[in-house]
């Protein structure tokens, strides 16, 4: 079932030029795609590719200039739908500091449910379970500014979970984190997805896209590539032309094929590459016997 349906989405920002006259800038230029309920979709692209603008169109923070975005069948541009849309699609942003509202961790996690007018006892239950879900239960009384970047981002995720959305859009949640923080955030996103949450994960780290069900590559406001990670990452030349890298295993297997090693085209992860190489080695040994 389609949970998110984007139809010919166009989004224009209005800026003022040096003379003060309004100029419109098209950040998203006619894109269409769907996201299945319970799936993990990765969106990759450079800065200025429109990926952040797209994210904000997925929960009505921005509304389409033209085209439509449907969330669970609800048109985001209908004002009556706005709060339903935002409750169904929660968001986690890039800067871990600038999205935490309250000076105490658990009060911050409660912020969303409080805005939804949930019963206090139910909020308590949601906050506790959301914090446990991101393994931050021990920090509920702490001040957010004393936590690491990865921990802050986990608090932000707990704040999203506590709204009991059906989908979480992660807008470059790992861009400002160190490797440990990145691993923490990605593994929580995958764990949530495993439990049935629809996840849209925006990133510029290719290896984070490798575990997705669907990868969408954006450039200049349009979709350049779309498909499973295997389908997308084998198109190495196109990705390079977009100045996007590929995971190390993909690059290495392509270099090895260039050197005459017989490897399949669809290697994506280290594990797949290692197994394939050991198979080649085994065959070579059999031949030489």
């Amino acid at each position: 079932m389609d949970f998110i349906k984007v139809e010919d989405l166009i989004f224009e920002y209005t800026k003022t030029d040096e003379g003060g006259a309004p100029v419109s800038f098209r950040a998203i230029d006619g894109i269409s795609f769907t996201v299945q309920k319970g799936s993990f979709t990765a969106i990759i692209g450079q800065n200025g590719s429109g990926k952040s603008t797209l994210a904000k169109n997925l929960n009505g923070l921005l509304l389409p200039t033209a085209g439509k975005v449907y969330i669970d069948g609800l048109d985001t541009s209908v004002p009556e739908n706005m709060w339903d849309v935002r409750q169904r699609v929660a968001m986690v942003f890039q800067n871990p500091d600038n999205q935490i509202v309250s000076a105490i961790v658990e009060d911050d996690v409660a912020f969303g449910p409080e805005n939804l007018g949930i019963d206090p006892l139910e909020i308590r239950r949601r906050v506790d379970s959301a914090l446990d879900g991101v393994e931050m239960g021990d920090y509920k009384d702490k001040a957010p500014h004393l936590l690491s970047g990865g921990q802050k981002q986990r608090i932000a995720i707990a704040g999203a979970i506590a709204m009991e959305p059906e989908c979480i859009v992660f807008d470059e949640p790992t861009a400002m984190l160190d490797p440990r923080g990145r691993r923490e955030v990605l593994s929580i996103a995958r764990e949530l997805n495993r439990k049935g949450m629809t996840v849209v994960f925006i990133t510029h780290f290719m290896e984070e896209a490798a575990c997705a069900d669907q990868v969408i590559v954006l450039d200049n406001g349009t979709i350049k590539l779309e498909g499973t990670p295997h389908e997308v990452f084998r198109r190495k030349e196109e990705l390079k032309a977009l100045s996007l890298g590929v995971p190390a295993a993909v690059q290495l297997s392509s270099d090895l094929r260039d050197r005459g090693v017989d490897l399949p085209e669809d290697i994506l992860t280290d594990e797949e590459l290692i197994e394939a190489l050991l198979k080649v080695k085994g065959e070579a040994e059999v031949k030489s016997l």
Binding site: A248, Q251, R259
Partner: protein, 282 residues
């Protein structure tokens, strides 16, 4: 040459929450080397960098740069700042002037140089970071793209003509393209200026590919000091500190564990490809 001897720094000394940020750190950096520094957030790397240009003073130990002890209280601060340029993380957040040229001129002006010299340096360092001086000099730095802002901020440090350039995670938060552009720029500057460049990164591929010498900091101590191949050979120790290997080294190491005969010092995808192809008789 930089010579750091027994450097120790303690935060909040005497208070109940005092903590040792640097613990007896000693190393040497030769002229013209490119040095990578790795370690976890909170390992003490940033504290170390801030000592290198006198922003922090050590509890004990010395830092001697070309024969001058910068930890000596008689050494003039401006003299240290002239020798060592420090580019902070997210340096674009320090831009403040109305125009790019004025912002870059801030450092040289503080050094008390003649106006003519300042202008020449501003022009030169904007060029060094790969930006068009005539096109950008009168623009507001806040109108630029993220990658351009970072370049302007780096130019602001280069304009002080430091012999030693220190960069704390110069590519933090950048996309793949801007990431490689900035690193290429840093290595171009290194070639052109023949300076000592020290950079902190969490990206082991960059560290392996670019550095002559790698310093590994763990819990305030210098855990390793050597060439990339010497350091990344010590897989178990690195992993115990929660640090990763370069992608190529990781794959090769796993193949070795599965019985393939490969050299232990592959650092880049290219080296790994050559070694694996050779092992398979191709």
């Amino acid at each position: 040459m930089i010579e750091v001897k027994n450097l120790t720094h303690i935060y909040n000394e005497g208070l109940p929450h005092e903590s040792v940020a640097l613990d007896d750190v000693s190393f040497r950096i030769e002229d013209r080397s490119f040095v990578g520094v790795i370690g976890h957030t909170g390992s003490g790397k940033s504290t170390l960098l801030q000592h290198l240009n006198g922003l922090l003073k050590p509890e004990s130990g010395t830092i001697v740069i070309d024969g001058v002890d910068i930890t000596d209280s008689h050494t003039k601060m401006l003299d240290i700042r002239r020798r060592v340029g420090l580019v902070f993380q997210y340096p674009e957040y320090q831009l403040f002037e109305e125009t790019v040229a004025k912002d870059v001129a801030f450092g040289p002006t503080n050094l008390g140089l003649e106006q003519e010299e300042i202008d020449a340096r501003v022009r030169e360092s904007i060029g060094l970071v790969g930006l068009d001086y005539d096109c950008l000099k009168d623009k507001s730095p806040f109108e630029l793209s993220g990658g351009q802002k970072r370049r302007v901020a780096i130019a602001g440090v280069l304009a002080m003509k430091p012999d030693i350039l220190v960069l704390d995670e110069p590519t933090a938060g950048l996309n793949p393209k801007a990431h490689f552009d900035i690193l290429d720029m840093v290595s171009d500057i290194h070639e052109r200026e023949n300076n000592i460049t020290i950079f902190v990164s969490h990206n082991m591929n960059d560290i392996a590919r670019m550095s002559d010498q790698v310093l590994v900091i763990d819990k305030g101590r210098l855990a390793m000091d050597g060439t990339p191949s010497e350091v990344f050979r010590r897989e178990e120790e690195l992993k115990a500190m929660g640090l990763a290997l370069p992608d190529a080294t990781e794959i090769v190491s796993r193949l070795r564990k599965r019985g393939m005969e490969l050299p232990a010092d592959c650092l880049t995808i290219g080296q790994a490809a050559d070694a694996i192809a050779a092992a398979l008789g191709k």
